[in-house]
Symmetry: D2
Subunit: 172 residues, 4 copies
């Protein structure tokens, strides 16, 4: 996929800025691994703080990671002066999330003028082996003319450069 | 709804124990507010660490809270010697999650022998006003004969007394 | 809920017109039962043609009915010169759908400027008893300035007055 | 993927039998195109009866087709003496479904002891070109010891050899 209006370097910078501003990404220990047009991979290292009581990563933490991976994947194909909202996502949990590293990938399936649809995969890696632990299907919304310089609109949109943010203010 | 085999006091104790063992519940600052047969309410106070960059609570944090509320709601109707797995959930985001308190409620719609279906609502409260910020629909799985005393099965099931845990080991 | 711009009589007429034009509503035998602002109930009588092999109504037929009920519920709150698209829906199946009558209800949870979120319930009725057989959560999209008189836009939008229609052309 | 207990020929025969018994598959004009372990493709030719008013195939008809494709895909990996239930599915609509042929494919993502998770794609074909019009994510349930010879259990399970049937009786 291509985004004629924005280079991937420009998007990588925007996504990195967004990451740095999101408390929740820091809270769960998410790292930006790979960004290509229509694709994003995020990773985290399981810690006791991301776990339920048996040491597996909590489904909500997986949801946070893969929702953001899908959101940033979609965002790479958006116009320059826009932001991204998560409209909804659905997550199926397939196996316990444990290991050295959890990787969530987001893939754009269709990038539309207003809505973008993605799929997401979450793998757990242990000693070089990968296990598919969750899959996602997601709807994103493009918020046009919502630059970081326009604070009023940015607040209204809820999630400028912040996939996974709760949505809707701009849609009231 | 009623659970003839288990008193609500016994369930409240089991759920409190489960909460105390879950790192992710502590990480996001979740509190157990209300527990009745077929119903659970969890709450958190928004902090910079639970937010995306504009101060709203991140969708993944909302997902963590309401997935757990639904899971514990379902768990109240399960047999005594059992645990609960989240099979899948779907979350729609309706409005920015901001305010003094975020409350996630889980409601059992159908409690079956193997599967339980719930709905969830997430409200943001500010100065006594409530705004519906997200709604959820969820499938849970009953894991029978999975007591806390049987560590091997408990590990295999992934989510003994831990709704929201990643599932599937026992279903391999 | 209220729609200050359009009377319910006007909407009832638009929905009835839409119904009459939809081959699929006729194919499955759907009837428009009730229409209020933010609410719609559709019904059908189970026939061998709507069934899987044991006489229960097929999940796809239930999906067709409740997707349309949600879509028309949302449509009652839309501006006069607009149409409705189904963006996505999620359906949980709870019990076999059998009986004298299947009733699908759609309820608007949030009506936004661009997106509308609904929930749906499907009951099977037999000898006066109702059983909840399926629940739905759905996202709709408002297509503005898409009147029946503008055939080009109507074709492009895919689903003018036709919730449940496949979406997306206008969003390319 | 492999199913050591059942040959694909045996499954193809079971699926064909199931198809022949399902009124809804006949009603919408579905054809069984391809069946491999973990994969199923169904197709239909758009007719006025499967359409909404502008000639596109109705989303509910697409749902019926792809829910069944996913269900039969999962069923190919089930034990011989079992049946399949659809627990839930989620469908995103991407583009208007029009053309000479609609093809729905189901792919098994994980086949578990009790639950099977699938993804589905629906393409519209016109003059040799394919357009992705919908994507699905689905949860199926294995019903063990539910053969066609045991009518009582078959009725209770709701969907013996009938993916897409409304579920739940056996789970009460």
């Amino acid at each position: 996929m291509e985004n004629p209006g924005v280079t991937i370097d420009a998007f990588a910078e925007r996504v990195r800025d967004s990451f740095a501003r999101q408390g929740a990404m820091t809270l769960i220990g998410a790292r930006l691994e790979t960004l290509r047009p229509g694709y994003c991979a995020l990773a985290l290292t399981p810690r006791p703080e991301t776990s339920q009581q048996h040491g597996y990563v909590h489904a909500g933490i997986l949801a946070t990671l893969v929702d953001s991976a899908g959101g940033y994947a979609g965002y790479t194909l958006f116009p320059a002066d826009s932001s991204v909202l998560t409209v909804e996502f659905k997550l199926n949990l397939l196996a316990p999330a444990q290991g050295d590293r959890i990787v969530a990938e987001g893939f754009v399936v269709k990038s539309g003028r207003t809505l973008t649809i993605t799929r997401g995969d979450v793998h757990a890696e242990r000693n070089g082996e990968r296990t598919l632990v969750a899959i996602m299907q997601q709807t994103l919304m493009v918020m046009r003319d919502t630059s970081d310089a326009r604070r009023d609109r940015r607040e209204a949109s809820g999630a400028a450069a912040a996939p996974g943010a709760s949505t809707g203010a701009a849609d009231d």
